[in-house]
Amino acid sequence: MLPVPGPVIALVLLYANLTWLGRIPENLGALADRILQNLGLLFVPAGAGIVAYVHLLRTDLVAIIAALLGGTIVTIGLVGVIADRLTRGQQTGVVHDATT
């Protein structure tokens, strides 16, 4: 069995399908916008399961806070610095092209 989550396979297949079609059918576009706008609601049942893991949160509290706070800030900083260094000199004008 593939270890890749099913919904991600669906995403890739739908993207391939859209590429083959060359456009987004009107109904599908409207449906996607509507559902994705309220995507946050769909995580609630899974997230509420946190009640069963309060003990783990408590014992690993320091590790979790460090991982979330440190990990996120370092990741954003690293992407910023390295991408900036590697693309410097070729970035003029591209910013404007990207919007058109």
Partner: protein, 240 residues
């Protein structure tokens, strides 16, 4: 407060209409609350709704298993909804073509960095294996992160909460971090925010303009898809 009459309530709580009828209004209240507070990322509607639901379960003495079984339709919708992320991604195909190099560079750094920094820090500080595996997909968009967590043996519930907290931290600290590095390219700001802190970071990136927002959303989607394919493979290849 005394828990409600157990047998009668457990039966009622087992009804999908009751579970969904509690979750949806709680989410609407959470959305209003965030809107009233100028869209502050700290008042993330999903997190607030989770807290409201957990409070309600405690207050009524309802078991989580009972709730999640009757709210399973909401959870079921998550799969198809994640598939629909292909639509906004497809809309940005032109952007991928035009800025492929900077996008590829940002992903090559951000994808491993998001996993290694979180798992590494937690490991150094003595986190349990369950915690480490649940932290690994924390930079991904929640729907994909939950699936990846399940695939690699993490706890989806922990991952959901870690992901939301990551988004909030990115939204609050991300722009300042990027500015501190002296970076002025809004494409890079967007990519860093989207790769590091998914949808919540993307909402913040849009406040720096449509270009930053579009690149952030692109970074989020590509990071999600690529990690979902690569991380479970990598973990199965690891010696046991």
């Amino acid at each position: 407060m005394r828990p409600l009459d157990a047998p009668a309530w457990q039966q009622l709580a087992g009804l999908p209409s009751v579970a969904i009828g509690a979750t949806v209004p709680a989410y609407v209240i959470a959305l209003r609350l965030q809107r009233r507070c100028a869209g502050s990322p700290i008042l993330n509607p999903t997190l607030v709704t989770i807290l409201l639901v957990v409070g309600l379960l405690q207050l009524t003495g309802t078991r989580y298993e009972t709730y999640v079984r009757s709210a399973s339709f909401i959870h079921f919708m998550l799969g198809p909804a994640v598939g629909l992320l292909a639509v906004p991604l497809f809309r940005q195909t032109a952007l991928i073509r035009a800025s492929g190099v900077v996008i590829a560079i940002a992903l090559a750094i951000g994808l491993p960095a998001g996993i290694v920094t979180a798992v590494g820090l937690a490991w150094l500080l003595g986190g349990h294996a369950e915690t480490l595996l649940s932290l690994a997909p924390k930079s991904l968009t929640t729907g994909i992160a939950i699936g990846v967590s399940q695939a690699i043996g993490g706890v989806p519930a922990l991952t959901a909460v870690f992901v939301i907290l990551t988004g909030i931290i990115g939204a609050v600290c991300g722009p300042a971090t990027v500015r501190l590095m002296g970076i002025s390219d809004v494409r890079i700001l967007g990519l860093a925010m989207g790769i590091g802190s998914h949808g919540i970071g993307t909402a913040r990136a849009f406040q720096f303009g449509d270009v930053a927002g579009a690149f952030s959303s692109l970074g989020m989607s590509l990071n999600g898809v690529l990690t979902a394919v690569l991380l479970p493979l990598f973990i199965t290849l690891l010696p046991a």
